[in-house]
Amino acid sequence: MDTREKDIENLKDYKYGFTTDIENIRAPKGLNKDVIKFISNIKKEPKWMLDFRLKAFERFKLLKEPDWQKPKYPKIDYQDLYYYSAPKSMKDKPKSLDELDPKLLETYNKLGIPLQEQARLNGIAVDAVFDSVSVATTFKGELTKHGIIFCSMSEAIQKHPDLVKKYLGTVIPTTDHFFATLNSAVFTDGSFVYIPEGVKCPMELSTYFRINASETGQFERTLIIADKGSYVSYLEGCTAPMRDENQLHAANVELIALDDAEIKYSTVQNWYPGDENGKGGIYNFVTKRGLCKGKNSKISWTQVETGSAITWKYPSCILKGDNSIGEFYSIAITNNHQKADTGTKMIHLGKNTKSKIISKGISAGFSDMTYRGLVDINSKAKNSSNYTQCDSLLMGNKCGAHTVPYIKNKNFDSNIAHEATTSKISEEQLHYCQQRGLNPEEAVGLIVNGFCKEVLQQLPMEFAVEAQKLVGISLEGSVG
């Protein structure tokens, strides 16, 4: 089958929704060996993959759920969850935009999302002409030309088992912490990216363009490998509010950069944060870790976190290769009853390694925000340096902002500098803006955008524009 035929095949699938036999399949409730075997089986995985999952599960049974984090949540009964259910069929989804929550539509309009895209985000069948599938296929052609592999994890396990086998679990092993191990045992799907030696990826890769991306489920697994001398920029999520049936999201993201390679990973997260009273909302417990394996490699994380009831994640860099660089840029906004405990870990192992952390936290309403970060310079990491800046902005006295940095320096050749400030928006600035005709909300949006500028600059262009608007919208109702 050539690619054109395949595309047609894909289109067909899309048009009719999912095939009927997938539709009804659902693993029984609970977590046990059989369920894992079931997941592996249904995805037609090879034996080594099943072994990987079972090994993780054995370990998972020994682990205790961590509870040192600041935001507390009601206990999750892991036996009361479905670990596999086929994506919803078109029948259950809204037929047109009129059926949607008017509040959601209002947000879409503010963000300036086109009508077709609004529909697509909610799984409403759209005109084939505008359908992202066709957009995606043109991109796919371009990528194949460069030898770049960009597909779903399940597809990669089938088609590129050598690569997956070689790299999966090397950064987040099956022996990791509670949620990561759970993911290793039961992950359903996610993205796989491989950039061959010396290739600069010609476009920003995004889950948004990947077919099947809409329902990867609650246990997503992403693996990105940048071979020697390559470059890739990867975008995850989108600015539009996302709703999901599952409350717990425990994804794993692994990045591997070999010699002279660079990976730039940007996230905009806007999952459902719950209502004004803090009811509902997603628990976003994600493990993201990048390994600068080769010399002169670079990994940079950029994140804009505005959604989720609880965000609990620390995208990290392990700087193993000499001269490698790790960067972390973050904006986290919490409003109403949202809670976030986020930050990064920079682990310096190689010589001349450098890391930079810029974190901006904004809390409003009744929310609670924690920056928690680790900078660890190992005794062998000669001549390394780190610079950390974490600023917090508070709006009102019902919210909290906390900074908990852990700084470990075991190398006398290395320098660590850390700065943190906490303040509020000054009355003078607000007054100035209002005097020039902005209403209080616009004024706050403007000031906050200025506060976040250093991070917003790091986002790819098309993301940055929407992210700016998102920053303003996330803070709605927090002033006056």
């Binding site: 508070l394 006295n397 900074t403 320096n409 850390h418």
Partner: protein, 415 residues
């Protein structure tokens, strides 16, 4: 250890004259301590330096029994010269002398039948140990409007007659309105590998000033823990200075509650370590009302195999608007085996505040050394000059001129 604790406890009760009620409370804390043991790295506050491990490693057989019914001879040669001062002398776990000879006797009151209070941090097993095993403890009250004329020096001494491997000291101070106290802790140890557990509680009333200087200067192989609990009322000031250098292990904890408006707390510290020393300062400054201020400055110079930890926490309550909190820690690592860990933490619930912290660590600046050497100093001299200047900055923060000079001389800094 459990059996040892129980038998030693019983032995002490036999020779001591505690009331039944006291024994009962002491036993309560003993059991609490047995339950939890020495703090280990699983607890967040002890993450960087695991006391349980350190004690197990350096003290072979822990014992807790001392005969407190006999007095110890006071060795006057260790007294600090060139400064007139009041004294409290604490030898081998027993307070031998409380001497306020320079002061007006009517203005100072000393209570020795003071009841154990329950108000402390319950998560700290060392406080339980202290309550179970400390001998008699005293409360010193400075009366309204009185400022003590000469500083009070507490001598912490041990000698070869000490039987146990652990001693505990507990003192309470109350500063009534508009009074002031200058307090110096001075350590001189002859014995090795003991665990010393010191607990101070300060109640500082309106308009009062407390200055506490802790000087750990003479080399010893002991393990020390000191906990200061400070409660401050309106307009009060507390100033704490820590020179942490010479014990094998020394952890200083400052827990300061700013309960009155316009109260302020200052913590300044120096780590000057080498040869396997492991020291820590942990502060927790709690801003509980409006318009309070805190300032912390910690500087470290770390030589071979040494490890310093600074955990500083600023807590701002949701009603504590207009708080001003500042924290800075700087470290110079002199050797590839030295290590500096910091956890400068901000926990803020009010919006109209100014809080910041900074932390920096690294090696001595090569350019500065080059500059000095080009002006004729040799490498060693240049290094010493730079370190001198680096640390002098902290000593300069001491507000009492007389004590500032004393400490400068003690630790060998020049201007």
């Amino acid at each position: 250890m459990k059996e040892q604790l129980k038998t030693d406890f019983a032995k002490i009760q036999k020779v001591s004259s505690f009331s039944d009620k006291d024994v009962e409370t002491k036993r309560f804390y003993l059991n609490k301590f047995i339950e939890r043991g020495f703090p280990n790295r699983k607890l967040e506050n002890w993450k960087f330096l695991d006391l349980d491990k350190i004690i197990n490693k350096s003290i072979n057989e822990l014992s807790f029994y001392n005969d407190y019914s006999t007095t110890n001879k006071i060795d006057t040669s260790i007294f600090i010269d060139g400064l007139e001062h009041n004294k409290i002398i604490f030898i081998n776990g027993r307070i031998e002398k409380i001497d306020f000879s320079y002061e007006d006797k009517n203005q100072i009151e000393i209570f020795d039948d003071f009841k154990i209070d329950y108000k402390f941090d319950n998560n700290n097993s060392l406080i339980d140990l202290n309550k179970a095993f400390s001998n008699k403890y005293f409360k010193i009250l400075i009366k309204k409007g009185y400022s003590i004329k000469k500083p009070l020096i507490i001598y912490h001494l041990t000698n070869e007659k000490m039987k146990s491997k652990n001693i505990n000291l507990r003192l309470d101070f109350e500063l009534e309105q508009n009074s002031s106290l200058k307090l110096i802790d001075f350590f001189s140890d002859i014995t090795d590998t003991n665990f010393m557990n010191i607990l101070y509680n300060f109640d500082i009333k309106k308009d009062s000033i407390l200055k506490n200087y802790k000087v750990d200067k003479s080399f010893n192989r002991n393990i020390k823990y000191s906990y200061n609990n400070i409660n401050q009322e309106k307009n009060s000031i507390s100033e704490t200075f820590i020179f942490s250098a010479s014990s094998d292990y020394f952890k200083n904890e400052i827990n300061c509650n700013l309960k009155g408006e316009h109260s302020s707390a200052f913590v300044n510290g120096i780590f000057s370590l080498k040869d396997n020393k492991q020291h820590e300062i942990r502060t927790s400054i709690n801003h509980l009302v409006e318009n309070t201020k805190s300032y912390q400055l910690i500087k470290s110079v770390l030589g071979k195999n040494s490890k310093a930890v600074y955990q500083g926490r600023i807590y701002v309550d949701s009603i504590a608007q207009k708080t001003d909190g500042y924290q800075l820690s700087k470290a110079i690592l002199l050797d590839e085996t030295s290590e500096f860990n910091a956890k400068p933490e901000l926990e803020i619930y009010a919006d109209d505040v100014k809080c910041s912290h900074g932390s920096a660590s690294g090696s001595l600046n090569e350019n500065s050394i080059f500059y000095l050497m080009s002006r004729g100093l040799n490498y060693k001299e240049s290094k010493e000059l730079l370190i001198n200047g680096f640390l002098l900055d902290v000593v300069e923060k001491i507000t009492d001129a007389e004590i500032r000079n004393l400490i400068k001389n003690m630790i060998g800094l020049t201007e």
